[in-house]
Symmetry: C2
Subunit: 412 residues, 2 copies
């Protein structure tokens, strides 16, 4: 039982943290492969299973882990109790499979903690106002952990994952990538939405809103990971904190559209109605009253989007529609950009020196994203990592951590 072995190893780690005097709430996810096994059963039962029943089904994965972790802790002589979403009273809206947490009741948690117990909470699940089981979507167990840490006013929310922390970029692409010791919520938010997979955007948003310090670290080592915290004065000393990429979007261009008011609404209205999320939008400078509009959509929605856009292009009497899935979006993120000038220029010239053409650009206060040909992705990342000095010794060090913490452990 590789899985049960993992749970036992988590239990040993939790027991150690308890011995160190911490009050602990541990949030667990399902065992490896369990959610997929249950989803496969659902599809066999029904080609399009209802989301309500799917949530009833998949939430058993976390329920099983929570009971097994509580038992493993008891086997080590720790007092432990498992609690499910309906027992904690984690209330969500009724959007099955992607529910949003509305309130978390702390009374049962407080009661069990006051009795000296380690509380093991089944992550990823809640209930709506009618007591129906809901699940929180991807990264849901992280979100449960952050929400519980927030309501308890915990000193710390530790998120255990299969990587060592948040890196300056993907170490698989850039061997010089280094673990970031401290990063601000805003930077983490940009990095998560721009492709860093270690934390989901929603968890970081929640942590920011309630000022919950997150420690992202590895389940497999004792090494310090990355602290995600409020922005600190020091942080601006670093211009760029990290480099991310996404290759899951494609690009659509409508050529030769008349540049008159209302055109954008005519193009993007129907896409929004079809629930297609448009990311970057570029409109060329008008030439003879005609312009080109280019935007990116998820690759999974390309076929649907093209169908809609071709219809709109005809109505607008545009010259034509083209598309390109062979693109990558590379982004640099850092709160230091606010106080440092020339960051964009440095990014563009670094890419130009390697002959990498920039197709689209989008910026915010703390990030710059460039769309380039997919084949240059790795090269671009390595060049930018070097250009912004990310391989050098990190100046942001994490202070040692003590005190009560709501910790989340992922049992894999």
């Amino acid at each position: 039982m590789a899985n049960l072995e993992r749970i036992k190893s988590v239990a040993r780690r939790v027991a150690k943290a308890r011995e160190a005097g911490n009050h602990l709430v541990v949030v667990v996810s399902a065992m490896a492969g369990e959610t997929d096994r249950l989803l496969a059963l659902a599809r066999e039962a029904c080609p399009e299973p209802s989301e309500r029943e799917t949530d009833v089904l998949v939430s058993t994965g976390e329920q099983v882990t929570s009971a097994l972790l509580a038992m493993s802790l008891q086997a080590m002589g720790c007092e432990a109790v498992s609690l499910l979403g309906h027992q904690v009273r984690i209330f969500t809206d009724s959007n099955y499979s992607t529910a949003r947490i509305q309130t978390v009741d702390r009374s049962r948690l407080d009661k069990e903690l006051a009795e000296g117990k380690i509380v093991v909470v089944a992550g990823f699940q809640g209930i709506d106002e009618n007591g129906n089981i809901t699940t929180l979507g991807r990264g849901g167990s992280d979100l449960t952990a952050v929400a519980i840490a927030a309501v308890l006013g915990a000193d710390l929310c530790e998120i255990y994952t299969d990587v060592e922390g948040v890196y300056t970029t993907d170490p698989g692409i850039c061997p010089e990538a280094r673990k970031i010791a401290r990063i601000s919520y805003d930077e983490m938010l940009e990095m998560a939405s721009l492709g860093a997979k270690v934390l989901q955007t929603r968890s970081v948003e929640f942590a920011k809103k309630y000022s919950v310090p997150i420690h992202v670290r590895s389940s497999f080592s004792e090494e310090e990971g990355t602290m995600v915290v409020q922005e600190e004065r020091d942080m601006e000393r670093v211009v760029v904190s990290g480099i991310t990429y996404r290759t899951d979007e494609g690009k659509i261009t409508i050529k030769g559209v008349r540049d008159v008011p209302g055109v954008a609404a005519k193009i993007f209205g129907p896409l929004a109605d079809a629930n297609i999320v448009v990311d970057m939008i570029i409109q060329d400078v008008s030439d003879d009253g005609l312009t080109n509009v280019t935007f990116t959509v998820p690759k999974g929605d390309m076929v649907k989007a093209l169908k809609i856009v071709k219809k709109v292009a005809k109505e607008l009497e545009a010259r034509g529609v083209s598309s390109d899935e062979d693109i990558a979006k590379v982004s640099i993120v850092g709160v230091g950009m606010r106080s440092h000038s020339g960051v964009a220029a440095k990014m563009f010239s670094s890419l130009a020196q390697e002959g990498i053409n920039i197709q689209m650009i989008s910026t915010s206060e703390i990030k710059i994203s460039c769309v380039i040909q997919a084949k240059y992705k790795e090269l671009a990342i390595r060049v930018l990592h070097k250009a912004f000095g990310l391989g050098e010794e990190d100046i942001r060090q994490a202070p040692p951590l003590v005190g009560r913490g709501a910790r989340r452990r992922r049992a894999r």
Copy 2:
């Protein structure tokens, strides 16, 4: 997926009953082997897993089945919704693993039924007053079904099992055994406690208390099974309804005890203190102020019981203690005994004619049990089955059934 195939076949049957105009609540148990798989995980996590956490763990089995059956029904175009113990609000005491149902709330059931939905309830589980998950012990899903039928005032509680109904005796031992069309709660209670495995005593007690008619039938055929109902006038025309046996008890004898007041208390007090359930007790007629006391206990408790009894025997200065596990208890059951004389005599003489010695006898108003040597068990059953005419055409026929029913289906 043999298991999912079973769930789908149950769904087809439920859909057909719905089409016939019935309002249905379907109570499900776990898929074959699932509870054992989960219990094995529990034992791996902890040598003596807490009963609270074990209940959290094993209750996922019924939760999975309930969601999958609701989905399968939806795939057939039926509106269906799954409900767990905490959603129905099936309240129990806090005796984990063997909890007793205290109240069942009908409001959520009524609401879903009023909306025309088929309600699929996860059997075997409830919650205590603090919202902790409890399970009901062996046959728990049957009990859930009976309890829900009771609170809803259902016309009928169908219990689907892997046999065709309740038989006059074990067809594996006596090929002439016949399915009983109608049987009273009291007879069913005696038969269940005397070894018939098709229904648990607690479910029958509950059904009797709330006058819930039960139809025990096969999941694998459309045949009528056995109706378990209030006693009817007709039933007394049959002297003996069924013959059961148990071989899970052993016999202990204390020889040469002084026959003075208080001896029984000295023997059975310590056994009760050790939670050993004593079934039959026989005290020989006193001879010279000395007597022998013989009683039966579960074979699993024999070693513990003998240790206690030997100590007591020494204190009482008895002549000795002997034990015998090589016994069987064969019982005849029937409400007709009340109005027919000579039933016991017929039983004893039938056994005697085959040279079967009776070691112990115990009787109630509607049953007679005899302890005999284990090797005569099959012979005794066949002889009694013939002697009481159980192989003949059954005179109790079940009428056709219509109307709203709370049905329980076992998904295997």
